[in-house]
């Protein structure tokens, strides 16, 4: 049995907004096995970035913990005193933001920024820091002489490599990467993902990779959790979830994705939009867009249930998943929802 490095239990994060309190994450549970890459996939507003940020406890001023736990090696990150949390950041848990520009200061040379982390946070002396900075650049495939360059002198892909080097500076065990390749061209994207895979294997890292792109999940992740409207609706190993999804939302996501293989056919959109989190619908949050919703779905929130092994899903019709998958593969099934949600 693999060790669980991070155990998120029923986590809720709320934002105070003008109209009230909005739970961006609302009862999300997820176990991250050590030494794996776990994908956190979902669309805009599903809470994936809020969840990822909450794990570092770096959150906007209007956000608060509204419940639940995130146990990192047995300690709850949500209630750890700030001084303790600060000791974990960089050393144990590191963050790679979506846009590397957000983690790099444009007015300092990247080497200076890297050494600042190594000296200021890691307590290294200048000489060791310099050697480590060169080593880190080597690890992410950048020539060490470029430590003297400013962020704007790097291409988007190279900046993302710098951001990865920065995150790895103090040898963390858990790396949280928020859409690390989203803004990049396909070729650069693939090269960065290859680099990430190599580093993860080489260093035995545990990675949480936040993405909206199931193909990125398919390429690098061992496990995946699918989020919808603040909740984890399905989780399991990547092959099972992507080839035998049990939640209709996951089925829909897989169908909506354009491929290079197979027939060019018609892509199947999921009609409608995610619910307003200020006033989420009662019952299953996907029910208003789900072609398979029955009365129970609109009344009662489905519990997360195990399907087999580590495969989990929150759907009232979980027992019929196989039949639903067959129906979900047909365009008409989803098209029929167009009028309902309009």
């Amino acid at each position: 049995m693999t060790e669980t490095i991070l155990d998120i239990r029923d986590l809720a994060i709320a934002y105070r907004v003008a109209q009230g309190e909005m739970r961006a994450v609302d009862g999300a549970s997820l176990a991250v096995p050590a030494g794996t890459i776990t994908g956190l996939v979902g669309e805009s507003g599903c809470g994936k970035t809020t969840l990822a940020r909450a794990l570092t406890r770096v959150m906007p001023g209007n956000a608060r913990l509204a419940g639940g736990q995130a146990l990192f090696a047995g300690r709850d990150l949500m209630t750890l005193p700030e001084a303790e949390m600060n000791r974990l950041r960089w050393r144990e848990i590191a963050f790679v933001p979506q846009s590397a520009m957000n983690s790099l200061d444009p007015v300092y040379r990247v080497g200076t920024q890297l050494r600042e982390v190594l000296v200021g946070r890691g307590g290294m002396d200048r000489r060791r820091a310099r050697a480590r900075a060169e080593e880190l650049f080597g690890m992410v495939g950048i020539e060490p002489r470029r430590l003297g360059d400013y962020p704007h002198q790097f291409s988007g892909g190279m900046r993302q490599r710098v951001a990865i080097a920065l995150a790895l500076a103090l040898g963390p065990r858990l790396v949280i990467a928020d859409e690390p390749v989203t803004a990049l061209d396909v070729i650069v994207q693939r090269q960065i993902l290859d680099q990430l895979l190599e580093l993860q294997k080489g260093l035995g890292l545990s990675v949480i990779l936040v993405t909206h792109d199931i193909s990125v999940v398919a390429y690098v992740c061992d496990r995946v959790a699918v989020m919808y409207a603040g909740q984890v609706v399905e989780a399991g190993d990547v092959r099972t979830v992507l080839t035998r999804p049990a939640h209709p939302y996951t089925m829909g996501l897989c169908n909506a994705f354009p491929h290079l293989d197979g027939a060019r056919g018609v892509l199947t959109p999921i009609e409608g939009a995610p619910p307003d989190l200020l006033a989420p619908p009662p019952g299953c949050r996907f029910a208003p867009r789900c072609p398979f919703a029955v009365d129970a779905c609109r009344r009662q929130a489905p519990p997360v249930q195990a399907i087999g092994g580590t495969h989990l899903a929150a759907c009232h019709r979980i027992a019929e998943a196989e039949a639903l998958r067959a129906r979900a593969a047909r365009v008409e099934t989803w098209a029929a929802m167009a009028e309902t949600v309009a």
């Binding site: 669309e43 805009s44 495939g141 291409s155 988007g156 892909g157 190279m158 061209d185 396909v186 070729i187 650069v188 994207q189 693939r190 090269q191 290859d194 895979l197 909206h212 792109d213 199931i214 193909s215 990125v216 999940v217 398919a218 390429y219 990547v238 092959r239 992507l242 080839t243 829909g252 996501l253 897989c254 169908n255 909506a256 994705f257 354009p258 491929h259 290079l260 293989d261 060019r264 018609v266 892509l267 199947t268 959109p269 999921i270 009609e271 939009a273 309009a342």
Partner: protein, 330 residues
């Protein structure tokens, strides 16, 4: 799509170039030379009526600049672009206005393409007013455009402002706006890149459907071959301001001829957990349009480059329905 006048060229671009001078006034003061960026550098491209062509390449390959040139949002530094037989650089006055109505742009970011203070009705009326369409026709045209992009019951949307619509609905409004003046030609620049996957499909379906119904000639600009495949029968691959391969999309995916196309095809992400993790057949590094390599521009990242690639730029070679610019085939 074979429209009633298929086989007749609508757009003919001949050896088009767009060079930008970049470098700040400040750097000029201290003696720095402004650099010349050859964003587009000798592109020839013919689009038949009703044809839908994908312009594919990485950031900086010149695809967006090429799209803007074809709409005369930019004037080329060299070369000529004919639209329906007329040189668009020579257009002015009424002729230019007519061209502007016939050739439309669908913008990338629907959240920015519409003024947040305007209602959808106002956003849709604006181009009609600018084009001098009689007010009596407005409602009919707006209704028809909204119906084309499958925003049924326009009454529901017209009084709203952009923030009250979802991304998918907004992008359909942006598309409707481009259709109001009955264009013959549209350029769509990464129109779904800002949208979530579940709504992307709907917008792509609408694009495909509208194009077929109206017999539109279209350019679809993207870096994602899977998207291009979905809406374009033909694809033109660009690299550092030049075309490297041009031909039917399916054939290109099955058997890419240019080494760059090969890398692009291999890099397309797929949702298949068993996909190949083989290293991409391409060198690292980003293409630099200020300082492109001699000869073939791809040669410094090409795994198959040889001496001739540095010495001379490859000439176009026809192979079946495809044209490839590579010495391996020339």
């Amino acid at each position: 799509m074979s429209g009633p006048r298929a086989g007749v060229p609508l757009i003919e671009a001949e050896d088009v170039a767009m060079h930008f001078r970049v470098g700040s006034a400040l750097s000029a003061l201290v003696g720095g030379r402004p650099a010349l960026v050859r964003a587009v550098d000798g592109v020839s491209l013919t689009l038949m009526r009703g044809e839908s062509v994908g312009l594919l390449g990485e950031s900086g390959c010149g695809k967006t600049t090429m799209g803007r040139l074809l709409l005369r949002l930019l004037r080329p530094s060299a070369g000529r672009i004919r639209f329906d037989g007329e040189d668009i650089a020579a257009l002015s006055g009424a002729g230019l206005r007519r061209f502007r109505a016939r050739a439309q742009m669908i913008f990338q970011n629907p959240f920015e393409a519409l003024n947040p203070r305007f209602t959808i009705a106002a956003a849709l009326a604006e181009p009609l007013e600018n084009a001098g369409i009689p007010r009596a026709e407005w409602a009919g045209r707006i209704e028809r455009a909204m119906e084309l992009v499958r925003l049924p019951d326009p009454g529901q949307f017209l009084a709203r402002r952009p923030h009250q619509l979802s991304g998918g609905q907004l992008q359909r409004v942006v598309m409707a706006r481009a259709l109001l003046l009955d264009p013959d030609f549209v350029v769509a620049d990464e129109p779904v890149s800002m949208l979530d996957v579940s709504v992307r499909a709907g917008v792509l379906n609408v694009f495909r459907e509208v194009r077929a119904r109206l017999g539109l000639t279209a350019i679809y600009i993207s870096h994602d071959l899977a998207l291009v495949r979905y809406v374009c029968e033909r694809t033109v691959v660009m690299y550092l301001g030049r075309v490297v391969e041009d031909g039917p999309t399916e054939a290109m995916i099955e058997d890419p001829l240019h080494p760059y196309t090969r890398a692009l095809v291999a890099a397309v992400p797929t949702p298949d957990p068993d996909q190949s993790h083989a290293p991409l057949p391409i060198g690292r590094g980003a293409p630099d349009a200020r300082n492109p390599p001699s000869g073939c521009r791809f040669r410094d990242r090409c795994p198959l480059a040889h001496d001739r690639c540095a010495a001379e730029a490859p000439r176009p070679t026809r192979i079946g329905a495809r044209t490839v610019y590579c010495h391996l085939h020339g």
